[in-house]
C-alpha cells in the first residue's frame, strides 16, 4: 500500500518507511531525510569540520539506503543508530585519509605543520564543544574524554591512548564501560528495551 498524502506519511514508523523505500517510494525516503538528516549532517560536520564534505556524506548515506534498504534490520536497533553508524564510518575514513595526507606532506616538507594542531588543544576542543547529554552524565570524566576523542575526534583507541598518555587497554575499557553505562541508563529510563 502506498501513501497518498503528506499528512499520512508523517505517522508511520521508521521501519515502515524503510519498507516503503524498498518499494521505491521516494516520498518515504524524503520523510526519513526530514527525520534523520539533521543529526547525520551534524555528526559528519563535527567530525569533518566543514559543510561540503559533510553534505556528501549525508547524500551517500541516503543513496545507499535507497539502493539497499534491506541492509537495515529493525530487530538489531534503530534506524537512527544505523544511519549514524554509516555516516560515522564514512566520515572517519575521510578524516583519516586527510590526516595521513597531511602528515605525509609535512614529512616531505611540502606543507608546514597545520596551525593549531596541538593535542592538548584538540582534547580541550572536543571535550568542551558538545553539551553534556543526560546519558553522558553517568560517565566518569575519563570515560567521557575517551569516548569523545574516539567518536567526535575520529581517533583510534591507540591514538586516544597516546593523546591522553594512558595505556591502550585502559582506553579500550573506558570506551566499552562508558558505552555500556550509557546503554544501561537508557534502558533504566525506559527509552529502550533491554
Amino acid at each position: 500500500m502506498e501513501w497518498n498524502s503528506t499528512r499520512a506519511i508523517s505517522d508511520p514508523s521508521d521501519a515502515a518507511l524503510v519498507a516503503a523505500v524498498g518499494r521505491r517510494n521516494d516520498e518515504a525516503l524524503e520523510e526519513l531525510y526530514r527525520r534523520h538528516a539533521g543529526s547525520i549532517l551534524g555528526l559528519a560536520r563535527r567530525l569533518l569540520g566543514e559543510r561540503t564534505l559533510a553534505e556528501e556524506v549525508v547524500q551517500e548515506v541516503f543513496v545507499r539506503l535507497w539502493r539497499s534498504p534491506e541492509k537495515f534490520d529493525p530487530n538489531r536497533g534503530s534506524l537512527r543508530s544505523f544511519l549514524l553508524a554509516q555516516a560515522h564510518g564514512r566520515s572517519v575514513d575521510l578524516l583519516r585519509s586527510e590526516r595521513s595526507r597531511r602528515l605525509r606532506e609535512e614529512r616531505e616538507g611540502l606543507a608546514a605543520p597545520a596551525p593549531g594542531y596541538e593535542l592538548e588543544h584538540e582534547v580541550w576542543r572536543l571535550t568542551t564543544a558538545g553539551k553534556v547529554r543526560d546519558a553522558m552524565s553517568s560517565l566518569s570524566e575519563d570515560e567521557r574524554g575517551a569516548i569523545e576523542l574516539a567518536y567526535f575526534g575520529g581517533y583510534t583507541y591507540r591514538e586516544v591512548a597516546a593523546i591522553l598518555g594512558a595505556p591502550e587497554g585502559t582506553i579500550k575499557s573506558r570506551i566499552r564501560v562508558g558505552l555500556g553505562r550509557m546503554r544501561s541508563s537508557l534502558v533504566e529510563a525506559g527509552i529502550e528495551a533491554a
Partner: protein
C-alpha cells in the same frame, strides 16, 4: 602472521569497534567475529545505540541537499518504463 584474536580480546575491542576507533588490521577480525557471534553482535549493537545518543546536533536538514539527493536516485521502475531518463524530471 598475527594470530587471530581470542573471543576475550574481541570483546574488549567491541566498544572501540562501535565507534570506528579500532585500527585497520583489527577491523576485519572483529567484524568477522561479530557477524558469527550472536552475543558479541548484540553487545556491539547496544554500543551503537549508545553512541547515537551523543550525536544529537540536529540542524534543519537543508532542502537543497534533499533535492540533490532526489536528483541522484535511480528512478522508480514505473517511471523508468514510462520515461527513459535519469529521474531528474520528477523534481518539482
Amino acid at each position: 602472521v598475527r594470530r587471530a584474536p581470542s573471543h576475550r580480546e574481541i570483546k574488549e575491542l567491541l566498544g572501540a569497534f562501535a565507534l570506528d576507533a579500532i585500527v585497520e588490521d583489527e577491523r576485519a577480525a572483529v567484524a568477522g567475529h561479530v557477524s558469527a557471534c550472536a552475543r558479541c553482535s548484540h553487545e556491539a549493537d547496544a554500543y551503537l545505540e549508545a553512541a547515537a545518543l551523543i550525536a544529537d546536533e540536529v540542524a534543519d536538514p537543508p532542502g537543497a541537499l534533499w533535492r540533490r539527493i532526489a536528483a541522484s536516485l535511480e528512478p522508480r521502475p514505473l517511471s523508468q518504463a514510462l520515461r527513459p531518463d535519469t529521474g531528474i524530471d520528477r523534481l518539482p
